[in-house]
């Protein structure tokens, strides 16, 4: 029944309730499978293909799928009114491509301000090729290595150092991220209909890339701004946050007092008024009269 035994290490060693055990198994299978699918082919690809070949493959994909908006050499395209149709990709780096394509944001359905996450259009090999091509146009932040974003090194620290690192991650998160993404990582509203998306269910790599490149309206948190080890601490904090049991019950959307207010009216006041109606309601009646003595 023990769950959050921090001294015993991470997820795998926790013991949970019987349903939780099943869930962990399921999640573990999915994560392993997903991680394998995400990482293994890319790793093999890097070993088997040399970079020039990858760039060339990326260029071909780019010409077919991206050049309409971004130009044949990623220089950007203006529409007839002189507005930017697709921005220049020179110098944005492979990390930006990996984030945008890897989360399904690119290719876009139509140009617009908000670019929502959707199902991924390119395979991992193709994404890697596209990233290599864009990286070859002009230097920019490249796709990070696993060692950059994987926070497992933090979990292996001695207990107090690990606590301090995760705590620093929370502090950095609260300072830089919660204003838009909310204390719970659930996202928030931005001006003119925009929004900051939820961070729940986003992979460590993509979170790292988002910080590194500042997609769309998000600010950039380059390595000079927040050093890589601190970025990892943020990721470690976010993982810890998501691992926490729901201490208080259902999270009600995790949006703060607005959700709580809605629920107290619908569930609380609504339920109690229902009880009041029941208390005051007349019970069933019978046509039978009472026998008189």
């Amino acid at each position: 029944m023990r769950f959050l035994n921090r001294s015993a290490g991470r997820l795998s060693r926790h013991r949970r309730g019987r349903f939780a055990g099943l869930a962990v198994l399921l999640v573990a299978l999915l994560v392993t499978g997903g991680a394998y699918a995400a990482l293994a082919p890319a790793g093999q690809a890097e070993q088997s293909q040399d970079n020039a070949e990858l760039v060339e493959q990326g260029r071909e994909l780019f010409l077919v799928g991206c050049s309409t908006c971004h130009g044949q050499n990623g220089e950007g395209v203006l529409d007839v009114n002189g507005n930017q149709l697709g921005p220049s990709l020179q110098g944005v780096g492979g990390a930006a491509v990996d984030f945008q394509v890897g989360t399904g944001r690119m290719p876009m359905v139509q140009p617009g301000q908000q670019n929502p996450r959707k199902s991924v259009a390119y395979s991992d090999d193709e994404t890697a090729a596209l990233a290599a091509f864009v990286q070859s146009l002009a230097p920019g932040p490249d796709v990070p290595d696993e060692s950059d974003y994987d926070p497992s090194s933090i979990y292996e620290l001695p207990e107090d150092e690990r606590d301090a690192a995760i705590n620093r991650g929370q502090q950095i998160f609260l300072t830089n991220c919660t204003a838009c993404h909310n204390f719970n990582g659930r996202g928030g509203a931005m001006p003119r209909g925009g929004y900051a998306p939820t961070l729940r269910g986003v992979s460590d790599k993509h979170i790292y890339e988002a910080m590194l490149t500042g997609p769309s309206q998000m600010d950039v948190f380059s390595d000079g701004n927040i050093p890589p080890e601190n970025k990892r601490e943020v990721i470690a904090f976010l993982e810890t946050l998501q691992e926490q049991p729901q201490q208080g019950g259902f999270s009600l959307g995790g949006l703060g007092p607005v959700g709580e207010g809605l629920y107290v009216w619908v569930v609380g006041i609504g339920g109690l008024v229902g009880f009041a109606v029941w208390i005051a309601a007349h019970t069933t009646r019978t046509k039978k009269g009472k026998e008189t003595a």
């Binding site: 029944m1 023990r2 769950f3 959050l4 035994n5 921090r6 001294s7 949970r16 309730g17 349903f19 939780a20 869930a23 620093r168 502090q171 950095i172 300072t175 830089n176 204003a179 838009c180 928030g188 931005m190 001006p191 925009g194 500042g214 769309s216 309206q217 998000m218 600010d219 950039v220 948190f221 380059s222 000079g224 701004n225 927040i226 050093p227 601190n230 049991p245 729901q246 201490q247 208080g248 019950g249 029941w278 208390i279 007349h282 019970t283 069933t284 009646r285 019978t286 046509k287 039978k288 009269g289 009472k290 026998e291 008189t292």
Partner: protein, 370 residues
């Protein structure tokens, strides 16, 4: 069997009467309808069933109370917390057992009232809220007599000085509240912050200085003056200026939050061409790196909700929006004035420091702000 026989007998001796016949001015209203019995009133089986139902609820409540105690002692909390379906097991089961146990008592008692207690409506007469004429007269007489004997009407000097004395008696009570506030309540205290010329900007949380080369276009950084971020030992360092001089002694930790409230800044790097040049603020930026107060001028929330491409900074509390490319002007929302900007400079190695305190008060407006 007449309708009347279903009504309760009159006169239970406690000031109640039978439901009276409708009064004359209500002659259009029909009288009280005949009472209709419930199954539990006329059918002993139904009555027994209801009785068992209520008792079952009370027994269920007892079971819940026992389960509460079991849950209290068997589920661990704290570092070794037990979970159930991803929820904290202790909180979940304590809530469920306490809640269901209490609900069972409530539902049981009410069911008892609804099904088994008499549901024959009875009527009680109302009385006017006012006292009887006689009582009023007696009271008035007593009041007049009392006042007459005091002579308060005939001695205005005593009456007025007494009123004066009572009014003055309140003064010490009010004055004694003065020291709720600090000795110095001058509004000018709100005009100054921790910043001074030559003070380096450091990253919030990390406490490291910022080099102009660290930031790329689009970077946003939350900063503090050096001296307001504790070092790894948890001490506040004394701020050191570009020439190595100590600008001011290290701050007492007690004062940290008070100073932090006013001194937090955001540092943003944008393309220098994006900045709308303000003749009063030539060279306030370093390579397109600008620095503003992080405290909203509306009611003082920290703002860090920035749109990279428009340079619009939005406050998550009340949505005041400021244009950081244009001297922090208000472009939307309830804020009444621009975000104070800081004059930045960089030392020989490229580290950013302030050229002085803000030239206007930071944070929310107040009367003396001018």
């Amino acid at each position: 069997m007449s309708d009347q026989s279903n009504l309760p007998a009159s006169g239970d001796g406690a000031g109640h009467s039978r439901v009276p016949e409708p009064l004359e001015d209500q002659d259009v209203a029909p009288g009280l309808p005949a009472h209709v019995w419930r199954p539990t009133d006329v059918d002993p089986k139904a009555e027994k069933r209801a009785e068992r139902q209520v008792a079952a609820l009370f027994i269920f409540s007892m079971v819940c109370a026992v389960l509460f105690v079991v849950a209290y002692f068997s589920f661990e909390i704290g570092r070794e917390i037990d979970t159930f379906l991803g929820f904290g097991a202790s909180n979940l089961f304590l809530g469920l057992t306490l809640g269901l146990g209490m609900l069972a008592i409530g539902v049981g008692v009410i069911q008892w009232a609804r099904k088994l207690m008499s549901d024959v409506e009875i009527a009680e007469l109302r009385h006017p809220a006012a006292s009887s004429e006689e009582d009023r007269e007696t009271t008035l007489k007593a009041l007049t007599a009392g006042l007459d004997e005091s002579g308060i009407g005939r001695r205005p000097l005593i009456r007025n000085t007494l009123l004066g004395a009572l009014a003055f008696a309140g003064v010490p009570l009010v004055v004694a509240l003065r020291d709720l506030g600090p000795r110095n309540m001058s509004a000018s205290r709100l005009e100054k912050t921790f910043w001074m010329e030559g003070m380096y900007i450091v990253r919030d949380v990390l406490g490291t200085r910022i080099n102009r080369a660290d930031l790329e276009i689009g970077d946003l950084l939350n900063g503090e003056p050096e001296g307001l971020v504790p070092n790894s030992e948890g001490h506040l360092p004394a701020p050191i200026g570009p020439n190595g001089q100590e600008l001011r002694p290290a701050l007492d930790h007690e004062q940290l939050l008070i100073e932090k409230v006013k001194s937090a800044v955001i540092v943003l790097r944008m393309s220098p061409g994006d900045i709308v040049r303000n003749p009063d603020r030539e060279n306030w930026d370093v390579d397109g790196i600008v620095c503003y107060s992080k405290i909203c001028t509306h009611v003082g929330c920290p703002i860090a909700l920035n749109e990279q491409q428009t340079h619009h900074l939005l406050c998550p509390c009340h949505q005041s929006t400021f244009d950081l490319a244009d001297s922090g002007k208000v472009v939307f929302g309830p804020a009444g004035h621009s975000l104070p900007q800081m004059h930045l400079a960089a030392d020989d190695e490229g580290y950013l420091y302030a050229m002085g305190d803000f030239d206007e008060p930071v944070g929310p407006s107040y009367w003396e702000r001018g």
